[in-house]
Symmetry: C2
Subunit: 491 residues, 2 copies
């Protein structure tokens, strides 16, 4: 089987539209040539099959070309979140040990502060590659190739990289197309960062199907609203925060060509979904994880999820619900527990980490998320993995934020939980215990945090308390603090 889908499309349907980025319009032939040159560019900078190559670039054709060039080279992509601080990037790069980090002029200072290894700078992102076309020297790509290592911070605050193989994207793409339909003239708008697995899934799906992707360099609600209105795109993926802003910018009715607004990334507020549907947006709900190469359960094109449901498992995914403590056994329909996933979409593990706690017997991934299945196969997600905060589509791991706060000499302990936010869905807020006789203000502590954390991770508020509530086993009882925040006791 052919796993180099850009090459396949160039051979079989050369004139089909592949990529649109502003005024740059690439057919699959043109994209294939750029990918071949990107392979040459990477090889000239020392990247070789089996290497890891980290990419710290904004969305755009350079990103897309590197994605497919690394597949062809049979090297592994380590996508870097542009919003991370140098310290955060440094921890990821130390774990991934890439042979090469690719960035641009804007990213160079941050990368330089994070990493002393080999770095290559793209001079003109979008302008192509100053190199001759080259082949991957290690034979054609294979589904088992380690396509990427995608980092999440996990519950411990330490970055860990989910291993994503090319075949995971393949099965996810087919499952998505079966559920949402597929038309050969589909055009997917990519306005989310491609360093998230969902962005890469969009690009792989299009290449497999020979359809087109329109790339926006960053999320611009007005521009997205215009694209939904003028019929230039037929599908788009959004998180609730984005959808809210797009609704506010919609000049009029959406185009009848627009057939799916895929809404995922965090729990979708029912009022938002209702408003969007009322205004003619064909919203379909989805639930997915980095570890499942994006969508795991999705609402079908021609069906309506019951209230509270997020979708039905995709065709090639197995989804089950087990006891929260990870013990064997399955819970019957209607009974909540931990959501488990298995199948060809699902990761086989983490880079250089065993993480046995993330897997249940039989090869089932423990998502850490709570939910239940009904008799008709609908999945209800009650809570994202315990304590995870999803803010504007970005994951914030409380343990990581707490560790940053605890690094301040005046802090004895910290607990971070979510607060509902009308714009971002959730934002992090912190409870801090000061050391005896130490003095630090909220403003000082926030300034300290800003130097160590990406902006979206910095708490919106810090409240100083005498002590943090503990669970029976002595861990911080974040759920009690969250309940107090939800009850409005802290404002």
């Amino acid at each position: 089987m052919e796993w180099d889908w850009v090459r396949q499309q160039a051979a079989r349907a050369p004139e089909r539209l592949a990529l649109v980025e502003d005024d740059r319009i690439l057919s699959y032939t043109a994209l294939d040539d750029r990918v071949a040159r990107a392979v040459g560019w990477l090889r000239a900078r020392g990247a070789a099959p089996g290497d890891r190559v980290a990419v710290h670039l904004p969305a755009g054709s350079a990103w897309v070309e590197l994605l497919f060039a690394l597949v062809r080279l049979r090297a592994t992509l380590v996508p870097l979140n542009l919003r991370l601080t140098a310290a955060e990037l440094g921890r990821i790069l130390a774990d991934a040990e890439p042979a090469l980090v690719v960035t641009d002029a804007a990213g160079r200072p941050t990368v330089a502060a994070a990493w002393t290894g080999r770095t290559a700078v793209v001079e003109d992102p979008g302008g192509g590659w100053d190199a001759e076309p080259a082949e991957g020297p290690a034979g054609p790509p294979d589904g088992e190739d380690l396509q990427s290592i995608v980092y999440t911070s996990g519950t411990t605050g330490t970055p860990k990289g989910a291993r994503i193989r090319l075949a995971q994207h393949f099965w996810g793409a087919l499952g998505s197309m079966l559920r949402l339909g597929h038309l050969p003239d589909d055009v997917w708008l990519l306005c989310m960062p491609p360093y998230h697995v969902g962005g890469q899934a969009i690009l792989f799906r299009a290449a497999l199907a020979g359809t087109a992707v329109v790339v926006h360099p960053r999320f611009d609600a007005k521009r997205v609203a215009a694209a939904l209105g003028d019929g230039s795109v037929t599908l788009v993926s959004l998180v609730p925060t984005m959808l809210r802003r797009v609704l506010d910018e919609l000049p009029g009715p959406v185009s009848p060509r627009l057939r799916v607004v895929l809404l995922g990334g965090s729990a979708a507020p029912p009022a938002l979904v209702q408003e969007a549907r009322g205004r003619g947006l064909p919203v379909r709900l989805t639930y997915g994880l980095t570890e499942t190469a994006s969508q795991l359960a999705t609402e079908g094109l021609d069906e309506m999820a019951p209230a509270g449901a997020s979708g039905r498992p995709l065709a090639f995914a197995e989804v089950a619900v087990g006891p929260e403590d990870g013990s064997p056994g399955r819970l019957p329909p209607g009974v909540p527990g931990e959501i488990l996933a298995r199948g060809p979409q699902v990761t086989d593990g983490y880079w250089r980490r065993d993480e046995p706690d993330r897997f249940a017997p039989g090869g089932w991934l423990r998502t850490g998320d709570l939910g239940w299945l009904d008799e008709r196969g609908w999945l209800y997600v009650l809570d994202r993995r315990v304590d995870l905060i999803v803010s504007g589509g970005e994951n914030v791991y409380p343990a990581e934020v707490e560790a940053a706060l605890a690094a301040h000499p005046a802090v004895a302990g910290a607990a971070v939980v979510a607060r509902a936010d009308p714009e971002w869905g959730q934002v992090p807020v912190a409870f801090v215990v000061r050391r005896p006789d130490a003095a630090v203000t909220e403003a000082e502590l926030l300034a300290f945090a800003r130097g160590r954390l990406a902006g979206y991770k910095v708490p919106r508020r810090v409240w100083f308390v005498e002590a943090l509530p503990l669970t029976g086993s002595g861990k911080i009882a974040r759920h009690r603090l969250r309940a107090e925040v939800e009850a409005g006791r802290w404002a």
Copy 2:
């Protein structure tokens, strides 16, 4: 992975529509129950995993339920063409050696004349199965299971059965959906006989995708025309003879819901395609074989084949053109030769026959058809496999008809070739050399042939000649006779 797609749909999307046959409307739950009962019915009649079970029934829900029941039982379907004579069926059954032949009251006399082995009669086709639901006793089905043995007569006139594994249908279905698009509310009209591989492909594709099929018990042009007009179906497969009749019956414009009229089975006359498109039918051309589990190359939903082209190879099929004599090497774009096919859709061989001549080095199937590929990936089929006659969508193999004629004591030799026919595309005509001093008339010989051949195989004309033209190697030079017929020398 789940290979019992009816069961999967029943578990995940139980209320979705699976099958419509007149007033009988089955959800996937209902179909799943009927399939389970059909498994029980088959087992009570002695069918077991690994057996071959021949089916001699008209199109309808019983046929569909047996198709999926045999998958679940892990037994192999041998579909029987209802138009064959008892003698023709007898040759196939002697080769297949089924454990059981399933027929109905109407088919019983023919089957009884063809076969002395175990036979089961369906009392009420469409009425369900007088049996308790049962499991297949041999574990879940697998993609490598031998789903069917589909007989063609081949160039020698001896029936040979192409081995079709479940995975061939899987990859063919995905390739078809990528090319023609897939919408979750698609409804495919099955009005061709399901004993052809194309009919089975429609049923498997729908079960994999969870979409619906409307089954007509036989081709009825008026009824098909009505379905295309009223929006009750979105896709239909036709051969040119069927399309001609449907056009003659179309009462008005077709429904905008109708998105594909897939035209295959034999060379499509350009004037017919033009007329159909002019009347609003979204005709898409395709080329396929029994051995490739139906479609191999298809015109995409959003593209227009250049004049003379039949389509582009499907996503998971490899198509190449090699020298006609089967020698290694590939011909460059634009140069005609023998069409070769490889990939997960393609058969790995024939039931109990080696047929090494049908495979080229590297596992390529030699289709026997002549054609070429252009620079843009379009496949042009110049001639179906040498001397094959396609009459109203049915294959007529000259060698088989010649053998039937030669069985007459007055016949010394016979050659059968195609004559163009406005209604059927092609019909067979025969050139016969009589034995010295033997006397037989055209009418006598045709009556003799009718007793031995299905009606569509019986020559329309017999011309008596002194001698048959021979090739350099002493074979009958059918191409010279065909050229004379095309030139109008015989009428």
